[in-house]
Every structure is written in C-alpha cells, then in structure tokens.
Amino acid sequence: MAAVASTSRPSIASLEAPRLAHYLAVGLIAGAIIALQISVMRVFAVGSWSHFGSLVVSLAMLGFSLSSVVIFAGKDWFDKHWQGAATAALLLIGPLAVASNLVAQTVPFNAIFLVSDPEQKWRLLANFLLYLLPFLAGAFFLGIVFLKSRTAFGRVYFADLTGSGLAGLVVLVSMYLFSPETIIVVPLLLWAAGSLLWFLAFGAWKSVVAGVVVAALSIAGYLMLPGLLGIPDIAVSQYKGVAYARNFPDGKRIYRSVSPFGDLQVYASSYMHFAPGLSDNAAFGMPEVPANTYVGMYRDGDGPEGIMRNLAPAEQVYFRYLPMHYPYVIKARPKTFVVQFGGGISTQAALDAGSTSVTVAESNPMTLRAFRDPILRDVTGDILAEPRLKVIDYDGRLFLANTTERYDVIDLSLADSVGLSNPGGFAISEKYAYTHEAMLSYMHALADGGVVSVTLWNKEEPPKSVLKLYSTIAEAARTFDGQGAANDIFAVSSYLSTTTVLFKRGGFTEAEIKTLRDYTRSMSWEEIYYPGMAYDGSAAQKILDDYRASIFGSGEDATLTQPAADATAPADPTAPANPDCDPTAPADPTLDTCAGAGGDAGPQVLPATALERMAWHALLTGGWEKLASDYVFDARALSNDQPYFAAYVKVADLPRTLDRLDLFQDDWGYLLIWATLGIACITAASLVLLPVLFGWRIVFSRSRGKLGTILYFACLGLGYIMVEVGLISRFTVALANPTVSASVLISSMLVFSGLGSLFAERIFDRARTLLPVVLLAICVLLLAYGFYLSPVLDWIGAYPYAVRLLLCFLLVSPPSFLMGMPMATAMTWLARLGKEHLFVWAWGINGCFSVIGSAAVPIVATSFGLSAVLQWAAIAYLVAIPAFFAVLLPAKAPSVRLVTA
C-alpha cells in the first residue's frame, strides 16, 4: 500500500486522499467513455444498423474486464508505475477513438451478407476490435485509478458514476447541436477536459502540454482527416433507405434536423412512390395514381415514410383504394382519432373520408417540427393548419388511456413502419402502440358503435407479426366484450401486402358486414374473418405441419410439393390456379372455387390466408393455445410486459436455426442478441479463468471467500445492468422515445447510485448488519416495481413532458440510490482486509457480468416479460446477501492489516 511512484510528489502519491480536481477528472473521463459509447451507437444507427452497434459497443465494454485481468496479472508493476501507465492510457483514449472510428469506416460490414459472404464476419470482428481500443484505454485508466484509491473507493466510485450519468445528459442535449457525423466531438471534449484537469491536479506541466497537443490533434483529426483522406465521415451502407434516395437522378434533400429523436431527413424525388397496401384494382378503377405526390422522410437513414402533398379533389379517389379507408366505409362523418401521425397518410385519408374532426397524435416532436417548417408546409399544403385537425404532441396511446373524449373511428395504420422491408433485420424494440393494454385503451375510447381500425404489413411467409397482432386484438376484444367479441371483429388481408382488423364497439350489424364484404371484394382483398363466417378446419393440422416443415424440415420431401408435382405450375400460367376443385378447401362460399361456374374460378386458398382464418376462428371460439403451440413461430399477444414484434423463433428451435440462418433474416436482431450473449459468456468465462492460470493458489492463498466474492460481484454486475436496461425499455411507455428514455434512465440511475456509494461510507463500519438489509430492500423494491410499474407509468404518461421527466427521475431514485451502496461497501472492505488482488479482479468480474446481463435482458424480456427482468435482478440481489459474508471473511495471513479509511 506504500508504493510511491518515483515521479510523483509524496502528498498525492497513491491517490488515497484525492482532491476535488481528481474527482472531477475521473468523472469527466468516465463521462467521456459513456459518451463515446452512445456516439458509436449513433454512428452505427446512421451508417448501417443500430442493433449491430449495440453488439459492438456492448462487447467493447468487455475492455473493462480485460484491463482488470491485466492489472491483476501485473499488479506489482502497476503499483510501481501507476502514474506513467495512467498518463499513457489517458493520452491514448482520444487518438484511439479517432483512429478506430476512421479505420472502421474503411472496413464497413454489410449485415445482409453476413451469412452468405464469409468475408463479412471478419469485417464485423474488425469493427469490434477497432472500437474496443479506446474503451480499453479508458478502462486501463479507470482501473489504475481504482487500484490506487482503494481506501477512498466510495468517493472515486461516486465520481465515476456521477460523471457517467451526467455525461448521458450532456450527450442527449448535444444531439441537438451535433450531427451523427460530428457527435464523437462530445466524448473527445469531455476526455480533453478530464485529461487536462488530471494533469493539472498533479502539477505535471509537461503532461499538460502533451495533453493539450494530443487533444487538439485528436479533435482536428476527427473533423478533418476524413476529408483529407477521402474517407467518409460515416460510411453509410448502400442498402440504407436514404442511400437509394441519393442515387435517384433528381433526388434532393429538402430538409434535415438532428436531435436526440434521430437524424430526420426529407428527400424529394419524382422517383418516390408510396401507396401502402394499395389495392391491385386501383389499376383499373381509377384514372391514374397521382404522380409526384410524395416526398420521403428518413429517420437515421431508414425509410422512407411517405409525406403526401395535398391532393386535388379529382385525385382523392386514390384513398378509397388504401386499406386505411376501411372504417370510413361504414362510418359517415365520424369523429376520428389517428394514433400516430407519421408521414400523414392516415390523417389525409381520415380528412378525405369526411371526418368532422380528426385528432392526431405524434410523439416525436421533430416530426411535427418538420411539418411546420415552411418547406414541408408547402409540400403538404400545411396539413397541420387544417381547421378540422387537432394535434396531440405526445403518444396517442397515452392520450386515449387518460381522456374522457369518445371517438367514432380510431385508426392505427402502419405506424413505425416504412413500407419496405429492412435488410439486416429489425432491432428488438418496444411497440407499445400495439399491446393488449393499448388496444383496450382504444376500445374504451370508442363512442357507441365506434370502430378501431388497425392496419399492419403482411409481408411475411410464413406469417409472423400478423398472427401476433390478431392474438393481441382478440385477447383485448375478449377482455372488453366477453362472449360478444366474436361479433365485434372484421379482418381482411392482402397476400404479401397488408392486413386490416376492425373492432366495432357493440358488434357489426348484418348490413355493415355486407357493406364491408362488398368493399373487400371490390378491392380484391381476402376475407379473413367476419361474424358468421363459415369455417372448415379439416386442413388445419396439415397447414401447421407444413409450415413447420417449410422452416425446420429436412427438405427430403421437398419434391413432393415443388411445382413439378403441381399440375397448375408454369405450363399454363393463364389457367386458374385450381382447376381441379379441391373438396378439402375451406368452405367459404365467396371463395369456394367448386361453387364457381368453372372458368372464373379463383385460386385455391393460399396457406397463409387459411392460417389467418384458422387463427381468428381459434382465437374467438377456442383452441388458440394448441394452434399457437403447434405453429412454427411464436404468435403470443403483445402486452406492455412483452411489447415485441420480434423473437418469432421459439427458444427450443434456436439450435436448429444455425444451418439455415438465411431463413431468419427478419429476426436477426433477436438471433444477434443470443450471439452477443454467447460471445459475452465465453469471453467472461475466459476472463474469470485467466487469473487462475496466473496463479490462483499463490496469489489468492491469503484470501478466503474467493468463490463467494466472485458470486457477489457477479450478482451485482448482473443485477445492476438488468435493472438499468430493463427500466429503459419500461420507461419508454411514459417517455415515448427510446433515446430519451435511455438517457434519462442512465443519467438518473448512475447519479443516484453515485450518491448511494457516497452515502455508503456511513455504513462501512456496520456493513455486516446493514448491507444485507440494503440488499433485501433492493430486492423488495425491484419486485414491487416489476408488479406495479406499468399502471404508474401509464399515469405519468398523461402529464406534460417536463413533469413526466421529473416524475421518472423521482421514480428511479429509490432503488438506484440503494443499488449504489453494495459495490462501494464491498470494494472498500476488500481493500480494508488487504485482499488487493480480489479488489482488482472483482471490478473485472462485475464488468463481465454487466455485459452478460445487458445481453440477457432482451432475451428474458422477449421470453418471460419485462417484469421478469426486474424479478431476475431482484433474485441476483437476494443471492448477493449470503455471498457478501464471504467478502467479509478476513484474509488468512497471520498479520491481517486493517487499513482505516
């Protein structure tokens, strides 16, 4: 403990009595690291795909564990040369951040070729290794600081957590000022300030000069090198939506705004055409689809979402051919609510259909700002100023859950959706607008005889998301109307296009059913369900079995159903697809080809359509559980606890995906989480085992309670991160935006935990009795949050945004404060007991299990629900109670030296 670096002055030799400047420096550097983490994720979100950014960044955090192991192995050396090592690590953070980001832009990897092109996995690895470097340097610096400030750990840890937390807010605000191309300036500035403060605190003037030069060069290099070297600021994948807009000969960006809500860009081009779900009959029923009607809106380069210009009256017949027109077929002059404004097409359709008033919600303030911008006002004919329109500037779901207003039509059409499929898969993200609770809110907000209309893309074969939608609406309808539900639903779909479900409060009349069916036929859409629809389930099991075989089959029977065996195959494509009347086909009189007059027969009912009919039949009359369990993909309803259109592959089937990964491209976001978890576990296991190779017996011979100590810190690592990531997902309900939710949660949790670790100093001496109480309190709080958070967040969501932020802050504070105490207390006791190697190593264990925990959250959430995430975290804190006593076991050596704090 008496090691003194030769170059340092005695009074500050080992950081055992750090000054304010030291704390500030540590806070700034820790803040720079978290800012870099968020910035790199922005670079990935804009350049390629955000979920690969999460993968790279979360694995880069393993740098902390790696540095801990290295410091562990060379503890004596680091004890002696700590100041030089810290200086070097500190000076390297900035240049490494700049260099790794620059080089990473030259080795972009393309997610969509990950399976088919062997080179891509090496590029992904290169990205990971590159971005690991600055985090590794940062981790070394902080690790050395922790090593040298063992007895003041609580305070340094407070600085570390508070700095990280506040930096989260700094980055959030900075996103208004810096575009993704320049956002890394923020961590660089934090790092520069932290470094200079650090060197100044030591009076190391040469280092101050070196720091200024390195910082200036790094920032200048970051901003100028891409231009000088001809390397893009961010290598935007050619497969991002915005890249296509740039390739159009007349593609022109007419608007851009950067904010925490994303990088929103609007491009104009005559080559853009949107008509989501347009009926094929439009080709013959309307004179011409209006040309030059749209501009395309892109968020973080993904899109486009079509923004429509004001159509001339003659062109407005166009809306009749879109599926969002459905509710207006039976509702004249309705009072309408549009749950999500998006690009405005649903709103236009509602206005066009003669709604007396249209209330429209949009939770993204940047979208509304864009529409109020003069350029887009010109394009849209200033739709937001339309007198019949009322705009709600937060989540429509929350508004409807808390309003006393009642509506004739509530529309949720293709929200959060950009029409084209997303190469590279979708990230696991919460879709709270589509949950059981949301549907119930919509149903409750209906006037008597009012209609909820939900339209979703139906582009999957085998169907996935539409089945989840159906089960969600059916569950909500049954909750709302019990046995009457079967009379409240009307569902249609268009193959590989869209599906629309109508729910009518009080049930459909015969006349309405007829009107809707006539409209469906006139659009050539398929009937999926209506009250009284005949159903023949004789082929049901075969369809379920066939779908399973189509994904997980061996392919041995492939030839049986290939076109060769199909008499209607290419030989005569003009012939009806079902010339031989199939007596086993569903007995729907409108589609039964046997009933037709021969030549005009339609095709046999497609398996996807038959499956959708089966699903509704089972949902409303019983048998859904068996159907869902026999179906190849997960079809469970969305709830606030499991708000995911993702994770379709059932867990038991995961091993069987490995030799056919290309069949699951749209679920890669989910599969990638498993891959992250796997890699994190393997790496963590190696990092835990490495110290054993370095001499468990020799180094640890004096330390008792090793296994218990490992368990304790593993529990803290897992527990803390699971609460953090789990709550970020949860709080999106109230804060309506994942980025804001993440920033607020990270900041408030870390700051309150920092305060907790500072407060922990007061219980150090009575830790044996008090800390178990603290751990138990955390456990109880987390369990309570797991059970009761959802209604509380719904309630918070109805307040103005500033109040919501404040309430969320307050809500997070009690568990966060308590969760700051166990780490600081245990680390300080390890130092007091002279278990120095365990002290270094514990930090690494904690880091490893943080990475594992963050990867485990989405898996637990999609499999068991977000409440389960908090429950698992609660269990981790519970297990930590007995493990804590192992931490307190005195070292074996004869002279146990207690160091007073």
Binding site: N110, S116, D117, S237, Q238, Y239, N247, F248, P249, Y271, H273, A275, G277, L278, D280, A283, F284, M286, E288, G419, L420, S421, N422, P423, K459, E460, E461, Y495, L496, S497, D546, A549, S550, F552, G553, S554, G555, A558, T559, T561, Q562, P563, A564, D566, A569, P570, A571, P573, T574, P576, A577, D600, P603, Q604, L606, P607, D659, D662, Q665, D666
Partner: protein, 289 residues
C-alpha cells in the same frame, strides 16, 4: 524467371483481371439461341461450350454443378429454361471480387445497394413465368443484367429498365462488350435508364413482367401494361429472404379483370430446401455437416 519478366506478366495478368470483357477473344462460333447445348453430361457440356462459346472451363464446371442442383430442386424444369440457364455466363455479370462465388447458392452485392439474385431464384422465377419465344417481357430493375441475359435466351423481346443511372450505364456497357464478342443474343435486350414505376408504355403491353425492385405496392401502370392473362412476378422482402409474389391478370368472361395473387409455388407451403452441393457427380446436402 527474370524480375522484369515477372513484373510484366503480373501487370498483364492484373490488367486481364480488371478488364475481363475487353481482353477476351471473340466467340469461336456464331451464337445460336436454339443450339442444342448438352444438358445431360458435364464433360460434353464443357467441351461444347469451350468449342462454341470459348468460355472458361472453370466457370463452365461451376455452372453445370449449380445447374444439376437446380434441376434436382426443380428450379428449372423444361429444356428451354435449362439451355437458357446453361447458356448464360453469370460470371460476366458479377463484380470482380465476387467471381469466386459467382455460382454460389447466394445473392451477391453489385454496388449501389443492389444485389444479383442467386442462380436458383433467377431460375425459379424465370421458369415460373414460362416465357415463349416471341413474347414481350418487361423487367423492372435491370441491376447486374443477368436476369435479362437469361431471358434473351428465351425470347427476342426483352425490355429492361434501371432506375440508377450509373448502374444502367455500367450494365449497358457489359451487354455491348458481350455483343461485340459475339453474344449476339443480347441484342434482344433493350435497356433504358428510367423510373420503372410507369412501365414502358410505348413498347407495351407485355406478356410477362418481372419486377426486381422494392416497392410497397404493385405499380398500377405495370398491371395496365400486362396483357390479359399475363403473369408478373415480384420478390417481396429483404434481399436473400424474399418471397416471390406471382400475380395473374385474369380476364373474366365479362371482359373485366381479376388480379390473382399467389406465390410462385402456386399456394403450396414449400419445405425448406437444404443447401446442396456437388460431390463428384453426386448431389449431397450440407445439412448439419
């Protein structure tokens, strides 16, 4: 070998690899669309193609191996399609860095955010629309040009539209270079750089239409330019995970039209086809291996 010679040779080899089209010789024999290309024997096929088309035996062997798997999987069915596939030099339409994977069961990047579909998918889609000689075919999304090249072996009226101008120009140059070398068949391909959404009204209507670009609805103009009882195929979904939508413009007895959507398997649930490969003359699955 002296150093100077070595350098000269290397430079020559490098130039050859960069400019494969320009550096290669003309076809040994005039191109005949109806030639009886051997389809039953790999050796005979390679010998015939080397003698008549002067193509690289390495690629010919890969093409024949892929062909056998496609036949096994019923991706190509009739003799016309079989010959068309075997006659189309896919290696001319992929980027130099992907030459080694030209005949893989995979889609490949061709720049501009565009892919060339895997040979199995091209074979399957083309087989499904069953192009007869003399039929007018419209392709939306020229891309690499491979699909149109394949079609040119089936009919003499292939029209193709590409929205991305530099890509349209690059592919046109590929065609022109091949035509110059003697691939006269590609003279049947008319190409233009335009927005395919509006089809090609001045040369329509078409018997068959293939759309290979992402769109959230079927462009009405294309349905209008499809002849009565004509067929259109459109891949839907992300590259590599696409489902192919088949659309028939059915003319009813009263003269009106009914648009029938299905998939290219005519509404069958199709079992997963394992990745197969050739081992010697045997087709084997690579499942779980």
């Amino acid at each position: 070998m002296r150093r100077r010679d070595f350098l000269a040779l290397s430079a020559g080899a490098a130039a050859f690899s960069i400019l494969p089209g320009a550096a290669r010789a003309a076809l040994p024999a005039p191109y005949d669309r109806n030639a009886e290309v051997p389809v039953n024997d790999k050796k005979a096929f390679i010998e015939w193609m080397v003698a008549n088309r002067g193509e690289d035996p390495k690629f010919l062997a890969e093409r024949f191996d892929r062909f056998q798997i496609m036949v096994y999987n019923k991706d190509v069915l009739d003799d016309r399609n079989k010959r068309a596939f075997l006659s189309t030099p896919r290696e001319e339409f992929v980027l130099p860095q992907n030459l080694g994977r030209a005949y893989d069961h995979a889609f490949l990047d061709i720049g501009y955010g565009v892919t060339i579909s895997g040979p199995h998918l091209v074979g399957r889609m083309t087989t499904v629309i069953d192009v007869q000689f003399g039929e007018a075919v419209l392709e939306i999304g020229t891309g690499s040009g491979y699909q149109s090249a394949y079609l040119a072996n089936l009919t003499d009226k292939v029209h193709t539209i590409e929205i991305i101008n530099p890509l349209a120009q690059r592919t046109r140059r590929t065609y022109d270079a091949l035509i110059e070398r003697g691939y006269s068949v590609f003279g049947s391909v008319t190409s233009r750089n335009a927005d395919g959404y509006y089809g090609w009204e001045s040369v329509g209507p078409f018997d068959k239409i293939i759309v290979t670009c992402g769109i959230d609805h079927i462009p009405p103009s294309l349905l209008q330019q499809l002849k009565p009882n004509g067929v259109m195929v459109i891949p839907v979904g992300p590259p590599g995970a696409q489902h192919v939508l088949k659309v028939i413009k059915q003319q009813l007895a009263d003269g009106t039209f009914n648009i029938v959507r299905s998939d290219i398997y005519n509404g069958k649930v199709v079992p997963f086809v394992p990745f197969t490969k050739m081992e010697g003359d045997q087709i084997v699955g690579t499942h779980n291996s």
